[in-house]
Symmetry: C2
Subunit: 418 residues, 2 copies
C-alpha cells in the first residue's frame, strides 16, 4: 500500500475539476483504494506515505490516435498538401518498417517521447509489418506503459510496399493476438484497418471477424476530409454514410471502437456513433496542419458521442497532450465563432484526454476508488510565482508547461522511469 499526497486535480465529471488541496490517494496493487482530503478519512491503517509537497497530482495522459512509424517525420513537410505529404513523405517512411532494426530505432525514440510528455496510455497505428509491430509492443511492455497497438491492415490504393494479402494480414494479426493474449496485459493488440479507401471488402470482413472472434477493440479513420468521404461513397455505394460502411463489416462499435477525426460526420453518422458507443478521437493539431477542417466536438458531445483526443503524429506535430488540449479548446472556440455552439472548456478537454479516453482501458484516467493509478506529478514552481489558485496553476501548466514540469510518471501504480 502506498499513499500519495499532493494537490489533486481530476475530472470525475466532464464539466468541472475536482480539486483536493493537500489530498491523499491510497494505491494497492496498481489500483486506487481511497481518495481523501485528510489522512484520517482514508480509513487505512498503514501505508507508505509519498509526499509530493506543493506539487500537482493529476491523471496521466491518454493519446488515442497516433502513428508510431511517422515519428521520424514529426514536425516536417507541413507546407505540403495532403497527397504530396502522403505519397512523398508518409508512405515511403512507413515502408521502411519492413526493416526491424530501423523500426526498433525509431520506435524506441517514440516510446521514450510519449513517456517524456506524460502519456501513459495510447492507441497506436504501427505498419503492416508483423515483426516491427511486435517489437513496438515489446518496447511498450518493457517500459511498463499501456498501449493498444495495431498492425495496420491495407490492401488497395496504396504503394505496393504497403499492400498485403488478406491471408497475410490475418496470419500476422493472429500471431500477435496469440503472443499478447493476456486480457489484463498493459499492451494489447487492436484491429486496425487503415481506412476504407485502403482496404478491400474481403480485408474489412476479415478485420471484423478477427475483432469479433477475439473480442478485440478496433481503430480506424473516419470523415477526415471531404475528398475522402466522396471516395468512400464511390467505394461503398450501399452504405448510407462512411460510418455505416465500417458498420456493415462489424467495425463500428460491435467491439470497442476508436474512430479518428470525425470532422465532417453527418447527423446520421453521429447518431450511429452515439447509439453504438463508438469513440471519436479528436485530433485538432493534425486537422489544422493538414488543412482538414475543424471537428464540431461540442455537437458530438451534446449528441452523446464518447470523445477522446489524439496527437495524430505526424499529421499532428506534437506528442504533448496538454498542447493538444489547448488546440482542442482553440478549434472549439473558432467553431463557436461560426456556429454559436458553446466552446469546450478546460475541464472538458482534460476529461477527454483522461477519464473519457481512459474508459477504453477499463477504469483509467481519474482518481476514484477502483481506478488504476495512472498519474503525473507536476512541478510548476517556476510558473507559480504569484498567488494563483490550484485550478489556475493547472491551466498555466497546460498552456505554458512542457515535459520539464513533469517530475514523476505512474502507470498502473508503478513509477515509470526511462
Amino acid at each position: 500500500m502506498k499513499i500519495y499526497k499532493g494537490h489533486l486535480l481530476f475530472t470525475p465529471e466532464r464539466t468541472d475539476f475536482e480539486v483536493i488541496e493537500n489530498g491523499y490517494v491510497a494505491v494497492e496493487n496498481g489500483r486506487i483504494v481511497g481518495v481523501a482530503s485528510q489522512r484520517a478519512d482514508l480509513d487505512i491503517a498503514d501505508g507508505e506515505l509519498v509526499d509530493f509537497g506543493d506539487r500537482l497530482l493529476i491523471p496521466a495522459m491518454c493519446d488515442m490516435h497516433v502513428h508510431a512509424p511517422q515519428y521520424r517525420n514529426q514536425g516536417m513537410s507541413m507546407d505540403h498538401e495532403l497527397l504530396t505529404w502522403l505519397n512523398t513523405y508518409t508512405f515511403p517512411e512507413e515502408a521502411k518498417f519492413a526493416d526491424t532494426a530501423y523500426a526498433e530505432c525509431i520506435y524506441s525514440r517514440f516510446v521514450r517521447d510519449l513517456w517524456r510528455n506524460g502519456t501513459m496510455r495510447s492507441a497506436v497505428f504501427a505498419t503492416i509489418h508483423h515483426e516491427s509491430t511486435r517489437r513496438l509492443m515489446r518496447l511498450f511492455e518493457a517500459a511498463g506503459m499501456g498501449a493498444l497497438v495495431g498492425k495496420v491492415d491495407m490492401d488497395r490504393n496504396s504503394p505496393d510496399a504497403l499492400c498485403e494479402t488478406v491471408d497475410e494480414a490475418v496470419t500476422a494479426n493472429e500471431s500477435l493476438i496469440a503472443e499478447f493474449s493476456d486480457p489484463n496485459g498493459l499492451v494489447r493488440p487492436i484491429i486496425t484497418p487503415r481506412f476504407i479507401p485502403s482496404c478491400t471488402p474481403p480485408m474489412l470482413e476479415a478485420c471484423g471477424r478477427l475483432a469479433r472472434e477475439h473480442g478485440l477493440a478496433v481503430q480506424s479513420h473516419l470523415s477526415e476530409n471531404r475528398a475522402e468521404i466522396a471516395l468512400v461513397r464511390e467505394l461503398e455505394p450501399m452504405s448510407t454514410c462512411y460510418g455505416d460502411a465500417y458498420n456493415r463489416y462489424g467495425l463500428f462499435g460491435q467491439t470497442p471502437t476508436l474512430m479518428a477525426h470525425c470532422v465532417y460526420s453527418s447527423d446520421e453518422e453521429i447518431a450511429l456513433m452515439s447509439r453504438q458507443g463508438v469513440m471519436a478521437v479528436h485530433c485538432p493539431t493534425s486537422n489544422l496542419n493538414i488543412a482538414s477542417g475543424m471537428s464540431p466536438v461540442r455537437k458530438l458531445l451534446d449528441r452523446g458521442v464518447r470523445v477522446a483526443l489524439g496527437s495524430d503524429i505526424s499529421g499532428g506535430h506534437t506528442l504533448n497532450m496538454f498542447r493538444v488540449m489547448v488546440y482542442a479548446l482553440q478549434v472549439s472556440k473558432q467553431v463557436s465563432v461560426v456556429t454559436g455552439d458553446k466552446p469546450l472548456t478546460l475541464p472538458e478537454a482534460f476529461w477527454c484526454a483522461t477519464k473519457s479516453a481512459g474508459t477504453f482501458f477499463g477504469q483509467v484516467g481519474s482518481f476514484e476508488p477502483g481506478y488504476e493509478f495512472d498519474a503525473l506529478v507536476i512541478d510548476d514552481s517556476d510558473l507559480n510565482f504569484d498567488n494563483y489558485t490550484l485550478e489556475q496553476r493547472l491551466e498555466r501548466f497546460v498552456y505554458l508547461g512542457d515535459d520539464r514540469h513533469i517530475a514523476h510518471r505512474y502507470c498502473r501504480g508503478q513509477e515509470i522511469k526511462l
Copy 2:
C-alpha cells in the same frame, strides 16, 4: 571584427529560405559586413572566428505586439469570454502597475522570458503609468535587447484606475521621450493609444501630435472583432472605416505604424494600410484564444500590406515566436479551406517574424550586409537523429523545439546572457 560560422538560414525574400551550409557572417560594430559560403569569399583579412559547428544560425525573433503587464496572467482564464477576461482579469492586473515595485518584479520576469524564447526585438504595450513604463525600458536597456515601449494612453470606457487626462498622458510621454532621446538607442518610446474605444478625440489628437512632433512610431489595435468595429463606427461616425479613424488623427502611417490583429479589415482599410505603409501584426494565438476569428494574412500580403507577427500576451498564451509561426501557418491553412487562398508557407511565416518585422527597427532580421547582427544559434542535435536537410532541421525546430534548443542569442552584435 568577428566571424561567425554555422549553417545559415534566413529569408532575404519572403518566399524562400536562403540556406548556406557551413557559412560565414562577418560582423563589425554590431552590423553585418559580409556573408559567404567560403571563408575566402568574405574578402576580410582578419577577424576572430566563432565556430558554431553543426548548429543552425538564424535571425533572432521580433515580437511586434505584446502586453508586458499582462505577463502574470499568461495562459490563464482562457475559458472566459472577452469582456469577462478584460474586466475581471486584465484591467485589474494592469491597474497594479501603479506600484513600481510590482512592475519591476513582473517586468523583470517578462524581459527574461522574451530573452529565453529568442526574441531580441519587440513592440510592447506597457500601462498608463509613467514610472513603471520607464522601469520596463530600463530593464530592456540593461538586458541589451531592442524594444519599442509604449506608455499606454487611454481616457474613456475603462476603469477609473486606468484613465488619465490628456495632459497627464502628454506629460508622461514627453518625459519618456526626453529620457530615451537617442534615435539610435536600442530602446525607444512608441506612441500607444490603446485603441479608439478607450481614447477620446482629444487624446487621439494629442497622440498624433506627439508622434508627428517627435518623429515617433505608433502602435494600436485594429479590427480585432466585430463588436469592437461596430463600437468604433458609433464613436467615429465620420470615419469610413476603423483604420480611417486613426488616419484622421495622424495615427495611420504618418509615422511608422503597427496595427495589431486586422482580422476583419475591409477592402478599403486594407488599401489604406497598403498605401500608407501601415504594418499589420498578426496574432494568431490570441485570435484563437479569445475567439476573435482568423486574419486573412494571404489577402493582406497579396495587397501589399506589410505583415509581422505578435504573441499578444496574454490574449496569446506563448511568448515563443516559433510557436506563433506554427499557429500563423495553421490559421492560414484553415482560412484556405474556406476561401481557397493559398496558405502561408514556413519561409513566409519566418520572414514575417524576422525580415518583415525587422524593417521597423531599421535593418534587422536578415543576414545581409548592412543589417544589424541579431541572431540565434540553434542546437537541434536531439531532433536531428536522421539525415534531415538543413531546411527540414529548421522546420522541425520551429514545430518541435523550445528554448532549450537556443544555445546563444545576439542582439546588435552583442551576445545577450541573462
